[in-house]
């Protein structure tokens, strides 16, 4: 049990001032502690059930720097295991996805079932003299795996709270993406995967609450026709909210006073689909989630991010203190028409992911922020997250009675502050759900 009173990492984060210490972006020892205290203890997003439609389907993923195989067993159950042979540690699966009941290590041929069990070992009688404990040498399973409406998460910590508790109010808000129509969503086949020389926290920080950078960082893309969603009108930029759902999760929304304003914000090519889906969404989710909130960007602690209406979800895999591997997917409502699927896919990939006209400029920002944390003098200078520090909205229910979590205006760094507060708490050993919505 880690002593939660040591508060070793709390001093790196001053939420009341909105200042954090840059060493967390460059110190290799801090990074090792992150792998232990955050990535080995949080629920981490692995993928979507639509990526495993059939029995014995699998895909490979990462939890922190640990490679895992995510499987749907013959009995239909989901499983996730370290992609590591129990003999010499080699990967037993070298494919990114496929359909297999058995995984055979290419080194010496130990063969595991997709339930994790060690099934055969070459020379079990002749060279192991039947002494190898087959039961004890299966693939290492995650402690828990679960899905929230098709979103698969797993954790290596058997003491972790249940997934629902971990997601807290964020699950309720996530419904605006994954449960707005009957049947939910599905991922299109294909994953963008790419390496960025930045600390993993910078993209999470960017997605959770940085609505401030848009007009500057993405002005070029916007101006030439790669418009974003919800569509920005003249005078736009300051109306809407940042919503912090607790446990380090948060997102930003535009506010629609009524149905008409949803259509005003829609891109022309998406308008007919917005009109088609609105009555169903409104009926399923009610006024607040089904009409007033038009979510844009968000992150689930520690390393999952979403761009709601661009149909984009991604994970930021840590790859050392100074490198991150982005995995980006396109999602659509299962009920979406073929025409709308095409529009979402093209909209998404022309803006986000590897060739994204928005993403390219973000990437260089994160690289620069990381580089500036390396110099001895530079990293003594605090990172500034003070925007709107004393301007959170004291009574969220005054905005709407159903509102959950803490909220602030659209241009406010509340979500980044809460992200790093959660980071510091977990680095000091606290459980991921100690914050609730109102710490």
């Amino acid at each position: 049990m880690v002593d939660t009173n040591t508060r070793h990492f709390q001093h790196l984060v001053d939420i009341s001032k909105g200042e954090i210490n840059r060493e967390m972006f460059s110190d290799p020892d801090i990074y090792q502690q992150e792998l232990k205290q955050i990535f080995a203890r949080c629920w981490l997003f692995l993928g979507h059930v639509s990526q495993l439609p059939n029995e014995n389907d699998f895909f490979t993923a990462y939890m922190g720097e640990d490679p895992v195989i995510v499987t749907r067993h013959s009995d239909g159950q989901l499983g996730a295991f370290l992609n590591m042979c129990r003999h010499r540690g080699n990967r037993v699966c070298r494919a990114d996805s496929g359909n297999q009941r058995l995984f055979t290590c290419p080194f010496h041929g130990w063969t595991f079932a997709n339930s994790g069990h060690l099934k055969t070992v070459p020379g079990y009688k002749q060279v192991y003299h039947e002494k190898l404990d087959m039961e004890a040498h299966g693939l290492i399973p995650v402690a828990r795996i679960d899905d929230y409406k098709g979103m698969i998460f797993a954790t290596f910590d058997e003491n972790a709270p249940a997934l629902d508790e971990y997601l807290g109010d964020m699950a309720w808000y996530l419904d605006m993406a994954i449960d707005r129509r009957e049947g939910g969503i599905e991922f299109l086949p294909g994953t963008h995967k790419w390496r960025i020389k930045c600390n993993w926290k910078f993209p999470v920080d960017n997605f959770i609450g940085d609505s401030y950078h848009g007009p500057v960082s993405h002005g070029s893309a916007w101006e030439v026709g790669f418009e974003g969603m919800p569509r920005r009108k003249k005078g736009y930029g300051y109306e809407g909210f940042q919503i912090n759902a607790g446990n380090g999760h948060g997102f930003g929304v535009r506010w629609a006073e009524n149905e008409d304003q949803i259509y005003e914000m829609a891109l022309p090519e998406f308008l007919s689909y917005e009109e088609e889906r609105f009555p169903e969404t409104h009926a399923r989710l009610g006024d607040l989630r089904g009409m007033h909130l038009s979510p844009m960007h968000g992150s689930i602690f520690p390393n999952f991010s979403i761009l709601w209406q661009s149909g984009n979800m991604r994970v930021w895999h840590p790859r050392g203190v100074g490198e991150t591997e982005g995995w980006s997917w396109c999602f659509v409502d299962k009920k979406a028409t073929p025409e709308h699927r095409d529009l979402v896919r093209v909209h998404d990939l022309q803006r986000h992911g590897t060739s994204g006209t928005w993403e390219q400029d973000d990437v260089d920002n994160w690289v620069q922020s990381t580089l500036s944390s390396r110099g001895y003098v530079g990293r003594q200078v605090k990172q500034n997250l003070s925007m709107g520090v004393e301007h959170e909205i004291s009574d969220p229910k005054s905005i709407h009675p159903d509102m959950r979590g803490r909220i602030a205006g659209f241009q406010n760094e509340i979500n980044q502050r809460q992200l790093y507060a959660q980071w510091a708490r977990m680095m000091d050993g606290a459980a991921p759900n100690v914050s609730g919505a109102n710490v």
């Binding site: 699966c93 070298r94 494919a95 990114d96 996805s97 496929g98 359909n99 297999q100 299109l188 086949p189 294909g190 994953t191 963008h192 995967k193 790419w194 390496r195 960025i196 020389k197 960082s217 002005g219 070029s220 893309a221 101006e223 030439v224 026709g225 790669f226 591997e325 997917w329 396109c330 699927r341 095409d342 896919r345 093209v346 998404d348 990939l349 022309q350 992911g353 590897t354 060739s355 994204g356 006209t357 993403e359 390219q360 400029d361 990437v363 260089d364 920002n365 690289v367």
Partner: protein
Amino acid sequence: MTDLETWFSVNQFYTKESRYLDDLEFTNWLSGFDETVRYWMPIVSNRIGRDVGRELTQPGELAHFEDDHTSLTNRVKRLQTGRAWAETPPGRTNHMISNVEIMERDGVQLKVRSQFLIYRSHMEIDQEIFSGTRIDKLRPDTETTWKIMDRSIILDHAVLTQKSLGIFF
């Protein structure tokens, strides 16, 4: 044209195209594309067993690039705003095209396969290498010799070691 003349002409066209890209003459580069062009780069993944041969995402699935003439033109316009930060200052590229092979002739139209190796240096010491294959459909054009009607680009990388795909292929 004889086979040799055709091959030479296509090589000249590709060499000029590479020069336009390396010299940041993107408007000239665009002139080589037909108005109806599809510019597409599927995603490569690692497959084994019976899935070998299914490494590429298909039309209708996610891709790295899926552009038409308008979006390709907009990508170029973005670079010309002066505020495309990933290319400010611009990267220095060297597009090398080889193994040009005329795969098929359909009347005057050609299906051509070529290989590329592109070096990019950016800022101080950032450097990236892109390698892969292009499969083009070309039609003759009086002004630009050839027009690209369709370009499929197969990058060799499953996990891109490049920070983004901000260049053209």
